[in-house]
Structures are given as C-alpha cells and as structure tokens.
Amino acid sequence: MPRWGMVIDLDKCVGCQACSTACKAENNVPYGSPDDQRMRRDIYWNKVIAATSGKYPRVNTELIPMPCMHCDHAPCVTVCPAKATYRREDGIIVQDFRKCIGCKYCIVACPYGARSFNSREQKEEEYHRPDLPPDRNVWGQWAFPTRTHGVVEKCTFCFHRIDQGIKEGKKIGKEVVPACVEDCPAEARKFGDLDDINSEVSRLLSSRGWIRLREELDTKCKVYYLPK
C-alpha cells in the first residue's frame, strides 16, 4: 500500500498563500468574516504561519504552510469517541462528517492546529457550489459538498482526487496531486508515496536535511519540510 506524504520546500515558498486559497476552492470550505477571524472561528484547512525571530536589524521571518500532517501516530485518531476520524490503509487520516458528533476532543488533541470546528450554518447560495462537477454530489465517506454546522473538518490530502486518479490509472504525484500542490506557483510542495524509492518525495527527502514540526511530540507526521 502506498503511504502518501508531502514535502514542502521552504526555500521556494514565498508565503503567497495560493495553497490556502486553492484548497478552499477545491473543497468548498466556507469563508469567514472579520468577526469570524477575530474570534478565531474561521475555517482553514491549510494555513500559512509567520514565525519571527530576532531584533532589528537582525530579524528573520519564516513562512510555513501547514496542512494537516496526517500523522502515523495521530493523537486525533486515538481520542475520537465515535470513530469519525480514522487512518486509512494508505496513510490518509479521514474525517467522516456523517459520524462526527462534534465533541471537539480532536481539536484539543491535535498538536498542529489543523482542525477547525464548523460553527455556523452557511447560507446556501454562499456555500453550495453548483459549478463543481456533478460527481461531487455522491454520497460517500467524504463527498458532502456542504457540511452541516457542528462538525469538525480538516485537510484530506484531496483524497477524492487520488481515488479518482487510481481508478483511472493515472500516476499519483505526477499527474494527480492535491489542489495545494497543483496551485503552488513556486512548485514548493510535492506529493507522493513515501515508501516508493522512485517518487519525487523520496528523492527530495534524501537530497537535503529535512525537519518535521513538533518532533518532540513524536507524532510521526508525514509532511516534511526542507529548511532553507
């Protein structure tokens, strides 16, 4: 079974946040309002944080895009009481909206802040995207193009694209990639099978030193960063 992972090259990332916006467009994530952002209610599946260190004039700001890390030892999978979030065989941590009871235990447990709680009923015309291809509206473990309020949502590595790509026999990592990887203008994000020695991600991980975030918690996450 493949083990899907992502490599983000911080040398190339410029902090433009096209990945955040592409993810919102692809997955029908609701936008917020000024109040929502101030109250930290807005929903981000992929966020870009800015970490500053130093004092003038020796200052450095790092811009780090953070999707869901899809950890191999995921704290969120351990604590979900309704088995609404679980690890698929190919390593993707799935969030099943129809089983989620909204207890928010996973938000407390996630070390990367990757999960958001959908706290507001969105207006139908602002949320439902009839322009999306019709096969989005199938019932299944993900495809709820509109999510009800009261459930937790997070990045899914666009597994609808991956599953469709495997069915059509395309190469994942080259022809079929998640939306954030596809839309990065600097080609800083790469997706692929971590267990395959010929994939792009394996090649990148062996070319330079890599780091993972919050290594001290030992979540064995599958999003690697190549520092500058």
């Binding site: 916006t21 952002q37 500053t52 004092k55 004039p57 700001t61």
Partner: protein, 157 residues
C-alpha cells in the same frame, strides 16, 4: 533644465539629503505606505478569500495594521494591538498598531489596499488608506511623484 529639478547633476554616486514634508521635531517618524503581496497586481480586495490572507507576515486579514518597531513603540508608550492615530501635517487616520521587528526604528509602515469607500461589500469600510494622509509633492531630483516623504506622529487614540 526643467523647472524644479536640481541645477547641477552630479554623475558620480553621491548623497543628497531628502526633503520631507513636516518638521522633524513635530512629526518624528517617516510614513511608509507599502503594498503587500495581495495588492501588487490588481489591488482588488473585494473577495473574502483575499481579505482573509491580506497580511501574511502579520498573520491577520480584514484590517490595516500600523507597523512600528517595538523599541520606538515603547518610547511612544504604546501597547501591542492598541488603536492609534497616525497624524501627518495634512490629515490623520486611526488604525491598530503592531510591533514589528522588521521595520526601521524611524519608520511607520502602513499597508495600502484597504480603506475603500465603496467598491463592493467585502471591502467597503474595512481598514484605512495611508495614501489619504501623504502630501502632494514631487521628488526634487527626478521630478516624479513622491509617496514616501511624509512625516507623521503616532499617538494613542
């Protein structure tokens, strides 16, 4: 020579003191109305997705921040996140202050791109426009419009 430019052009690199609008004693800081990434191409902010990520280096959206060096802000007795007036010899605007290490101690940096009077429901009435308070002047050497030579003072609102 065109009227208003320098009479003697020195063709070797040299330094000429810039001319600022406003006296140094009364308006100690220099205003820098910069353009963040979202404004560079077409500058339209009438999209909620664009407004949410307006200032990635500051990690906020939907508003305008007055960025001051933290040492300068401490001498002005400001607290991070406070509302301040930025006043120039011509006008004044009010916005939230942010302590930023990446700004020169003598400079106040305000992003432009907000402060629209209309232009759509997602940006109407949000933020302030620093270009409202800069003076109308031209560069004494080249004759082009000068945007960055207004002096301001910052105080609590």
């Amino acid at each position: 020579m065109k009227k208003g430019t320098e009479k003697d052009i020195d063709c070797l690199p040299n330094y000429k003191e810039p001319k600022f609008l406003g006296e140094k004693e009364k308006y100690p800081l220099i205003l820098l109305p910069y353009q963040p990434l979202m404004v560079l191409e077409n500058g339209s902010q009438n999209y909620p997705w664009a407004q949410e990520i307006f200032l990635p280096m500051a990690g906020v959206g939907w508003e305008t921040l007055v960025e001051i060096n933290s040492e300068t802000a401490k001498t002005l007795k400001l607290r991070d996140g406070q509302l301040v007036w930025v006043e120039s010899p011509f006008k004044k605007v009010k916005a939230k202050v942010k302590f930023s290490e990446g700004v020169h101690p003598g400079v106040v940096a305000i992003p432009s791109g907000q402060g629209h009077y209309s232009y759509g429901k997602w940006q109407k009435g949000i933020g302030v426009n620093p270009n409202e308070i800069i003076g109308v002047d031209y560069d004494t050497i080249s004759g082009q419009a000068a945007f960055f030579n207004t002096r301001v003072k910052v105080y609590r609102a």
